[in-house]
Symmetry: none
Subunit: 216 residues, 4 copies
């Protein structure tokens, strides 16, 4: 019901408490993201992070215990919105498998194109995998595994219903991630020179996924 909006309009009543700066840690993490993306973990100077956040180095050490900790918390914090968006997508009810797959291709490409955080955090994880192996594992089990599990469940169900072929792809649902991943890597390598033909690309990915190359 659209009446809910009325309730939302009352929301501002609560935040009235003039909390001045309890967002400090958040601002630091946002600044850290920019610097880490720009220079990588090792070449990023906490002093630059501090300057960007409008504080001094000492302040960072008041909120975080070390540079590594800043990195880890930054990745965790800035991944949350993406994680929530993905969970929201997966929780949608889309009974028709073809519609679902089309939506999935749209959603995953959209994520790559519009969510700079998601895009760049992939770069950071690839780059720093050997320094932060646990962080990588954490991300795989939080992001990748749920998606693959969900995809696989849908594919198994659809195959049982006969709405898709009994394809070996069912055992490797991550192959459905391949097209958006290619796009992600391209954008990372090309320094954000965005693909102008994004929509055509997405359509091509959908077509390939559903129909393959061979004549029917």
């Amino acid at each position: 019901m659209k009446g809910a909006k009325i309730i939302d309009s009352t929301a501002p009543s609560k935040p009235e408490k003039i909390r001045r700066k309890p967002e400090r840690p958040g601002e630091i993490l946002a600044a850290a993201f920019e610097e880490f993306v720009l220079h990588g973990y090792a070449a990023t100077r906490l002093e630059d992070v501090a300057a960007r956040a409008g504080v001094t180095k000492g302040t960072i050490y008041f909120h975080f215990e070390s540079k590594e900790n800043v990195f880890v918390q930054m990745v965790r914090e800035l991944s949350k919105p993406t994680l929530l968006a993905m969970q929201e997508f997966l929780s949608r009810e889309t009974p028709d498998i073809v519609a679902f797959l089309n939506d999935f291709v749209d959603f995953s490409h959209d994520l790559v194109l519009k969510d700079r955080y998601a895009r760049e955090i992939l770069r950071l994880l690839i780059a720093e995998a050997s320094r932060f192996p646990d962080l990588v594992d954490e991300h795989i089990s939080e992001f990748l595994d749920p998606i693959c599990d969900h995809l696989q469940a849908r594919l198994v169900q659809a195959a049982k219903e006969g709405t898709i072929r009994q394809s070996p792809v069912i055992d490797f649902p991550d192959l459905l991630l391949a097209p958006p991943l290619v796009l992600n890597i391209f954008v990372l390598l090309l320094a954000d020179r965005q693909d102008a033909e994004a929509q055509a690309r997405i359509a091509a990915a959908k077509d390939l996924l559903l129909n393959g190359l061979l004549p029917r």
Copy 2:
């Protein structure tokens, strides 16, 4: 006259004076690769590279002008074998498009699985794209573009012959690189914990590519 060979055969009397160590630069680059892969560009110490190569820091600076130069030359040098292998693959004559596509899926996955250099250089390029943008561009035009051009030419030709569908994928041949790229990223993120089911994955990729998910 072949009699000259007799004289030549006495040549070995001049002992081992045949160049002592003109392989130094190569050994340094090989050592540099290992260290850069292990720690990334910024966190790699040239002293460690030197130690691994069995020389001292000064020697590196005798052969290379800076750390950046070591990195760039390392990437160029260690990419050569992969480039040659790829060129050799593309020059093979495989008239049948289905056979060609199957071969391509095999070849590209094989590259990822067996060529550690190729795999890790992708990591380094993703990680250091903003520090070495020209190197990235160089790689794209040397590796990616020729492959895509070749793939596109084959797809166009096959579509004309009717051996494949008139698919929109023809405009985005890089989508054929998606499966091996996913594999590459996985291997990078999982710290070389190899996929035990590689062959099944390759088969799945082939099936998806040719047939898509929908029932025929």
Copy 3:
């Protein structure tokens, strides 16, 4: 009102909390002077400067941006007292030209004999002129030019009054600097083995300046 002093006398009640070490930069510059004098710019190690100042290398870089900057600021800072002394001398009113010239010879020789800073900074400027050309120019316009201008004005005036000859020296007032400069160079070359006959030398310089060698 002089009563204010009574109030000031109560000031010490605010204990020692008045700045702990805001003299750090000054101490570093003093230490730098000693080391630069001892070894020259290039051969001076910032580590030695730090040790002499009782701090660590890092502290120097907290206060100064580079070794060159330390040198430049050191020269500027340690020249100030000499500059002030010179300005004070030039501002004295000594109407009689002979008395003035005698005072000038005394003053300039005294500077060389007693002001080690002035003496050694000349060495540093001569030695590093090609590395710090701007610093040299700065010194010439701050030290040399004002003196020469002042001397010339006095000589012109005295010649007009007939108290000195209409000498061509009036066009080259820097010639009056020659005797103390010779002394300065000697002291620099002889490693501070001071001239025991300094007073006789000064008298000789005065006599030569006023009377020349020819019989009257």
Copy 4:
């Protein structure tokens, strides 16, 4: 007797041996002079000296035992022509004291203006006095002392004859070196921006020396 020249004409018989490059050491010293003048002792790289001389670093070590040795021999070698010129000047017979003094002022200023070696070696000695104290002493006893001794002898003699005053300057003959020294220092500090009014300056120096400032 000019007949001696006949004997000299036979001299060429000996140098016929095709000594190709026994000037190597000399070329190295000439190159070293330029580099030392440009950067000072410590900041001069033997590699640059070698490059300028058209040889490699190793060659320098074949002819000289160390960098310090190159410096010392360079100073000695490039001082020789100046020393000879000075000795030649002092050996001239100029009975008239006024003519002699005029000649001396001319000669000494000429040296400074025309002999870049002499000019710059003074800079090097001032700059490196504490690293090469013996070299400085050597120069003082070879250059300065003979000049001063000669000047003093002439002044004593002239005073005895009454051709000059019984001036206290007789005890400090080095004061006669003051004017050319000022010029030398100026040229060193001003990076060879030569004094356009050199002749007027020299005339002024002569006038001051002979007549002083006071009216006669």
